[in-house]
């Protein structure tokens, strides 16, 4: 392992305990994976440590000490959402003390040189990797999207290995950075009609369980599948499985370039998804029998412009039932765009909140007292169920109808 003088100096403790630990983890990951040197990365993405709901106060203090050590990021480093809406936390009912603590990691990351994107869809706000670009991204839905949709190359990093890449500008050369690790292994034949974006959530949820860590290849998906659908599919696959890359015949770049190499050569298992499997997935995604909804949360991953428009068009002239909290989660950048086109005003007049910088998975929703949530995201369904909140999963239309009635129609 060839370390630079700068890296050796960090490992010797010249920049404090935090940076030293971060590089110790990098060295261990290099050794365990028998890496073939280091590869320079174009971009890093951070998550988790920065969240009050994940890193907690330990995470806040860790990043603050790192920022105070004098270390600065060497490459462009973008950031996943935090646990509050940075400007609108008060109207969400998040306590001031919690918001103040959360602000510490925000300040620390900006001081370290991060781009304050606070979104899990950075590719909608300027992070557009090219085919073959090497990245060190963290958040699982972003990792799978970068690898699959763009054909960029990133392992499923965690925050400490990503911090190491941000500090050093490089990452151990192994795993998905290597071309031979990217061939499809599990052929998924689609024999079901997929209509709504939630159908792609259900598909990802089902296939993720079968795939484990294998690379799925989707056959017979429609060529004009929307970006939002691919986002939902990836997020769901990475939730139930350790899936970090998938290919879609005629859609994603690597398999378009070489259908044999990515779609056939290493395939050793084949499944077919029919209406029956889709039904099983939908049933498994409902973890409560309660029908009284008090929280409707959409936008996991953070919604696109198109999807927010769809919400506004439904809610125009309607009123959300009293006592139901409705969150439409997106990035600040996308929100500003939709504010200009007028849909945000329509959504907020109906009584829903367009929430930015955070989401239903990362904000302290359990402590906020919600009992039964409705969502159109399989990823949100999984994590929020784990918090002990009952979850109803269905398509966007069904969730929006629940905002008006407060009831989930079976």
């Amino acid at each position: 392992m060839q370390l630079t003088d700068y890296e050796k100096s960090i490992l010797a403790g010249d920049f404090g305990e935090e940076a030293k630990k971060i590089l110790e983890v990098m060295v261990k990951i290099y050794e365990i994976n028998d890496a073939n040197g280091f590869i320079d990365v174009n971009e890093v993405m951070l998550a988790s440590t920065q969240n009050m709901s994940i890193g907690g106060e330990m995470g806040m203090e860790f990043l603050t000490r790192l920022a105070n050590s004098g270390i600065r990021f060497k490459v462009k480093t973008i950031t996943d959402p935090v646990s509050i809406d940075l400007e609108g936390w008060n109207r969400l009912g998040i306590p001031e003390e919690y918001a103040q603590k959360q602000q510490k990691s925000v300040n620390a990351l900006i001081k370290l040189g991060a781009v304050p994107t606070w979104t899990c869809t950075p590719y909608l706000v300027g992070s557009i990797p090219r085919l073959g670009d090497h990245l060190a991204w963290v958040e699982t839905s972003c990792v799978i999207f970068a690898n699959s949709y763009f054909g960029a190359r990133t392992n499923r990093e965690m925050d400490i290995s990503a911090l190491a890449a941000a500090i050093t500008g490089r990452t151990p050369y192994y795993g998905l950075h290597l071309e031979e690790s990217r061939e499809g292994q599990l052929l998924v034949n689609l024999d079901a009609e997929l209509n709504t974006t939630s159908d792609y959530d259900a598909l990802g949820n089902y296939v993720g369980k079968v795939a484990g860590a294998k690379i799925p290849v989707f056959n017979n998906m429609k060529k004009n599948v929307s970006i939002q659908a691919i986002m939902q599919l990836g997020a769901a696959l990475a939730t139930t499985g350790a899936v970090t890359l998938f290919h879609i015949f005629d859609v994603t770049p690597e398999i378009v370039m070489d259908p044999y190499k990515y779609g056939k050569k290493s395939v050793n298992e084949e499944i077919t998804i029919s209406d029956k499997e889709m039904k099983v997935a939908y049933q498994g995604l409902n973890t409560t029998s309660r029908n009284d909804i008090d929280f409707v949360a959409l936008g996991c991953p953070h919604y696109t412009f198109d999807k927010i428009r769809e919400i506004a068009s439904f809610l125009e002239g309607k009123k959300i039932r009293e006592g139901i909290e409705v969150w439409i989660c997106t990035s600040k950048t996308v929100r500003d765009l939709v504010l200009r086109s007028g849909e945000i005003q329509v959504i907020e007049e109906a009584g829903a909140k367009v929430v930015v910088d955070t989401c239903m998975v990362l904000a302290p929703v359990k402590q906020m007292g919600f009992h039964v949530m409705a969502t159109d995201s399989a990823k949100a369904q999984f994590y929020v169920s784990g918090f002990g909140i009952g979850v109803r999963f269905g398509n966007t239309q069904k969730c929006l109808e629940a905002t008006l009635t407060g009831k989930w129609e079976e």
Binding site: I29, A47, M158
Partner: protein, 141 residues
């Protein structure tokens, strides 16, 4: 009597404790309560079980990378596993156990799910990458 198995060191340290074994992956974020160390994932075979003080034997982590901080926080609160034996350590687990200082080994010479049972007394040497299984005779057990 004891039986010694060789694996690979992921994080150093020597501890002894009772095994908690699962063939299912664990999602620490969303699947474990960070305040109590209890497994909360609906449908998990260890649902309702406490991780505190146990030698956790599992195939892999699953789900979000946020798992790392949950493991670190559990360790800081002394309510997490004492040591971890995993089939194959991934990046998230490596980061978590080094940051938290949890003795951890992987790649055992035997299938851990064939030889370890819940309640077994195990001595994990994370530095050497070994695990000792202490077998109690029927009289003393």
């Amino acid at each position: 009597m004891t039986v010694l198995y060789q694996g690979r060191s992921i994080c150093s340290g020597l501890v002894e404790g009772e095994a908690l074994v699962t063939k299912q992956g664990i999602s620490f974020l969303g699947g474990v309560d960070p305040e109590t160390g209890v497994i909360t994932e609906v449908g998990h075979e260890l649902h309702g079980k406490k991780l505190s003080g146990k030698i956790l034997v599992l195939p892999a982590l699953k789900g979000s990378a946020g798992a790392m901080w949950i493991i670190i926080r559990l360790a800081a609160g002394m309510i997490g596993p004492k040591a971890i034996i995993v089939s194959k350590a991934d990046t998230i687990l490596i980061g978590a156990v080094i940051m938290a200082g949890i003795p951890t080994i992987d790649s055992l010479s035997v299938d851990p799910f064939q030889v370890f049972r819940a309640g077994d007394l195990l001595k994990v040497n994370g530095t050497q990458g070994t695990v000792e299984q202490i077998l109690l005779s029927e009289n003393t057990g």
